[in-house]
Subunit: 216 residues, 2 copies
């Protein structure tokens, strides 16, 4: 995991800024590989970068099919098209699933209270981030995780939760996805410029990025 | 290949209609499986349905990576998010690649002139559709196919074609993708309604669709 921002990061921040008046500018399409070996593709919401890194945060429900798929094959590609600036980012990388079952969560609490934790100590740190993401979600979003099992037949008789204790921490269905980008393919349809950013990882886990202009 | 429109088709036509004021409403994200076994995802343009069917048409360049990927694994999932009506269609199916190398193209010409061709005679018919799609593209779009090899390093010295004979047929780089949907997952974020459309194919190639309301 890199702790210094990558060369494509500023392009993405600029695109987010210039498209920020559009609610859907944070919607991205996440492709994974289905258990049947076929591609799977759905919209998810970009929840920001993991602090001091290029790692992309996404909230989801542990009961959705993408979790099963990512456990089977952790690789994913995000396609992010900005409808106002006509820019596309194809972000390919590996996804970590941070759910409540993280065996280190107890250890973490002690470590957090004792302030021993380091930002590079990912798994420990992510448990905190999961909690932060939960509290950053709107009460309405949080309620979704208490709803009926996604993808199962809809039974209108099922009782629905109508509120969630605002001070309560994340429910077990709430889960954080952390995408660690390895390659970014950037295309600007206004200038017809395309840039390919490719990374390699050093033995101590630092990413080194190179970029090349390629034909669109 | 179905020749009667599927039950999800009207939902999609409605979404296209209610979002038609947005240029990007015809942009969809197409996920395939890369040669390295990882997911691949990019925006492509919906070019309409193949007449009298639910088959989705997409133009592309034979030199792009998706062609190599689809030859290796013909399955794909389109994620189509309509930013104004808040509707998402996840369309999963198999893709046929119709390029100029189709061995039946000569036969086709004779058959077309003789009017023997039937709309169900897919491969023959698609060669015609490829030609139709070519002529339906703008001169600027057609010019792209004469440009330098997509994805290769950009060399500004490369000579660029500046015009294309308007009456000339499709160049060999022009290629038509035909997606035959097998499953459609529809989600309406305004009503929170989600419908799953699943098809089975009869021995004579007719699709039979069932639909079910499922939890979002």
């Amino acid at each position: 995991m890199g702790t210094v921002t990558a060369p494509w990061n500023q392009l993405l921040l600029n695109a987010l800024e210039s498209n920020s008046h559009l609610k859907h500018s944070s919607y991205v399409q996440l492709a994974t590989i289905g258990s049947n070996g076929r591609p799977s593709n759905r919209s998810v919401v970009f929840r920001g970068f993991h602090e001091n890194s290029d790692n992309i945060l996404i909230n989801t429900d542990t009961r959705t099919r993408k979790i099963e798929e990512l456990k089977h094959c952790p690789f994913a590609e995000i396609c992010w098209y900005f409808t106002d600036s006509w820019e596309q980012f194809r972000i390919n990388g590996r996804i970590d699933i941070i759910d409540g079952s993280n065996p280190d969560s107890e250890k973490l609490q002690v470590r957090t209270w004792g302030n021993i934790i380091s930002p590079n100590c990912c798994k420990f740190h992510y448990v905190q981030i999961r909690e932060k993401s939960w509290f950053a979600s709107s009460p309405r979003s949080r309620l979704q995780y208490l709803g009926p099992y996604p993808g199962l037949p809809h039974l209108s008789e099922e009782p629905q939760e109508t509120s969630v204790d605002p001070s309560a921490g994340p429910v077990s269905e709430f889960c954080l996805l952390v995408l660690d980008p390895e390659q970014v393919d950037y295309l600007n349809l206004k200038t017809n410029q395309r840039l390919m950013f490719t990374s390699t990882q050093s033995q101590i886990g630092e990413r080194c990025w190179t970029s090349e202009r390629i034909n669109p």
